[in-house]
Symmetry: C2
Subunit: 365 residues, 2 copies
DNA sequence: CTGAAAGCGCTTACAG
DNA sequence: CTGAAAGCGCTTACAG
């Protein structure tokens, strides 16, 4: 993958000059001091006398001066921005994550550059290239599926630290912040087992994605620990959207005895599954137990409310920002991997005891 | 409101220098050309010979050079970023809007600076000040409630064009992109009237917000055009969240005859209302008709699906970005006000004919 | 086609 | 306490 060399702005010309901008020089001459003194006032330096400071500040307000942090950062070789690259802002999980990043950055006076990739590796390349040229202190990347470490590194360069979130990219020399997917699915499965379910499906996601594989492994582990040999037909794949999940519901009931519960890949899938169940006359939370993953806001508001594994994306966002800024301050420390803990939230969708495993014959269709 | 004069970075020091950064000078000397020539190569200028160009490009790749667009923009007095200030990223309406802005900006090679205010005027001030210092070509502002034009202008300065979205700020000399709130509520009300409803409530929102007032006025207009004198108790205020709406449902049924339908302030409120109705044993879409506003993704997936007024936040985001960039190119043209059209989407939540108005006695509790 | 020079708006030693 | 000077990384007339 070659870096994008053309800076000709083929797409659109950059914005033309506006009304002449007020600079430190304007303030300096109006206040009768040198530019250096204005700069010291701006920096809150104690070297400047109170009278001088007052004069300069009055002039700053009078002329509506706006500090040019870009110029300052250029001179100081510093940065006060962080780039965030996510898949899709309309996914509430990523929106919450971005909100967390924003919170943490605002607290330390940094600004967030945000772009989304729509899960396209090519768009990710373009977007990373564009963001990195703006000189962020670092990049938080929730990588598109199929991202390769060398491609990311080629476009980001060696200069800018990267923190990868959510999905590992093999071979990267960067920090990683992940979620304990296996443990979350294990907890969800154990919860269903504790309610007496023996035929439990894992519903949704694609085995190609690492988070799906990890969740499946936690699910399988819990089943095996309970002495249950999982059946292959309990593993139902589907794209992680509500609509696809609703449409795939039938796959659970192709043969008797059907599962009485399902661990869904995530909340979107779980909500879709509940829709699909309802459409078949199966009441989720009554005839069939469902758990989700993520605890998006909707999980607490759906009917029935959705039992799910809370991953707290907003807290993860804050954490990611903090970790990245630590890395910026200590570029040479070895890369870290952090796996955030998860917590099962039991709600109505799984709040029933399974019928006895031997007599239960859910002949549903 | 005084501008924030202190640039001392009290909160956190800006990031320290990283490994030495590769510059045009490094490429130039390695390729045996001047910095100007490298710049011309970067700019895709036809003045450079093919052999020279190839040599320079090879060197750029070899050294992992990353273009410093900040420095270039400083020199050219240009900008390739746009700032977006919204209330809350975890609100799907704003998340979709931001996604639209992002799409449009990415298409023209601009970068998005994003921050949220949490509906706080003070945080909005701080966030605007911080963003504007990074020199965006313009600012898209979805103002926090209570924003005042002079405060915004004081902190943004005269140099940076502003486009206000969603909520008007009195006295601003900027472009405004809004939604036809009155027309949307009028359509929703007319739709319910056409189904035979005569006692129709307007549910949710606060009369203090201009969008709520506009929606109420469309609702009232539709009722009056139908010869119905609206009753004061049909106007139920509540904060625009699902939970608050569910909790306020009872206010509709304090006296007989109760309304048989409600125009909800927005989708969150409508979904909460449907929950509140269900909790009282009233089936939304069967015993009581509900319409929402916004058409968030969930509206199509709720049970029953929610009739609503589509405002297409993503399209609005794209439009806002386009309008702002037009303004950047033509700073002197007079401010524009655009009111985007809306479209009623009829779904199950309103898909029943009202019982005859005279015999109907919904003695519900 | 290529190079030397000036300058964007700022900061930071260094003198005074 | 304040000012003159250099320089961050780039671009752009202007010569040649």
């Amino acid at each position: 993958m070659r870096p994008n060399l053309d800076r000709s702005n083929a797409v659109t010309p950059p914005s033309p000059p506006q009304r002449r901008r007020v600079t430190v020089a304007d303030i300096a001459s109006a206040a009768g001091v040198s530019r250096a003194t204005v700069s010291l006032v701006l920096g809150g330096s104690p070297l400047v006398g109170a009278a001088t400071r007052a004069r300069v500040e009055a002039e700053i307000r009078r002329q509506g001066y706006v500090y040019n942090r870009g110029a300052a950062n250029l001179r100081r070789k510093a940065s006060t921005s962080v780039a965030l690259v996510i898949n899709d802002l309309s996914n509430p999980f990523f929106a919450e994550f971005a909100a967390g990043v924003d919170e943490a950055l605002a607290d330390v006076g940094h600004v967030m550059l945000l772009a989304s990739t729509g899960e396209s590796v090519e768009r990710q390349r373009a977007v990373l290239a564009s963001l990195v040229e703006h000189g962020p202190a670092g990049v938080i990347l929730s990588p598109a599926e199929g991202s390769r470490a060398q491609d990311v590194r080629a476009v980001v360069g060696l200069h800018t630290p990267v923190l990868v979130f959510n999905r590992e990219v093999e071979g990267g020399d960067w920090d990683f912040l992940g979620t304990d997917n296996a443990e979350g699915a294990r907890q969800a499965t154990a919860h269903l087992l504790a309610q007496g379910h023996r035929r439990i499906a894992f519903f949704g996601g694609h085995a190609g994605s690492s988070s799906c594989r990890q969740r499946r492994s936690g699910y399988l582990q819990a089943l095996r620990e309970a002495g249950i040999e999982p059946e292959p037909r309990w593993l139902v794949e589907c794209t992680a959207t509500r609509l696809q999940a609703a449409a795939s519901t039938g796959a659970l009931f192709v043969r008797d005895p059907a599962p009485t519960a399902a661990v869904a890949y995530n909340d979107a899938v779980a909500l879709g599954l509940m829709l699909g169940l309802a459409a078949r006359g199966i009441l989720p939370g009554h005839d069939f137990a469902v758990t989700g993953f993520d605890d998006i806001p909707e999980a607490a508001a759906s009917v029935p409310t959705l039992s799910t594994v809370a991953t707290e994306p907003r807290a993860r966002g804050r954490q990611a920002a903090t970790l990245l800024l630590e890395r910026v301050r200590a570029p040479e420390t070895p890369p870290r991997t952090l796996i955030a803990p998860v917590q099962l939230v039991a709600r109505a969708s799984s709040a029933f005891t399974a019928p006895d495993a031997t007599t239960n014959r859910t002949t549903l269709r």
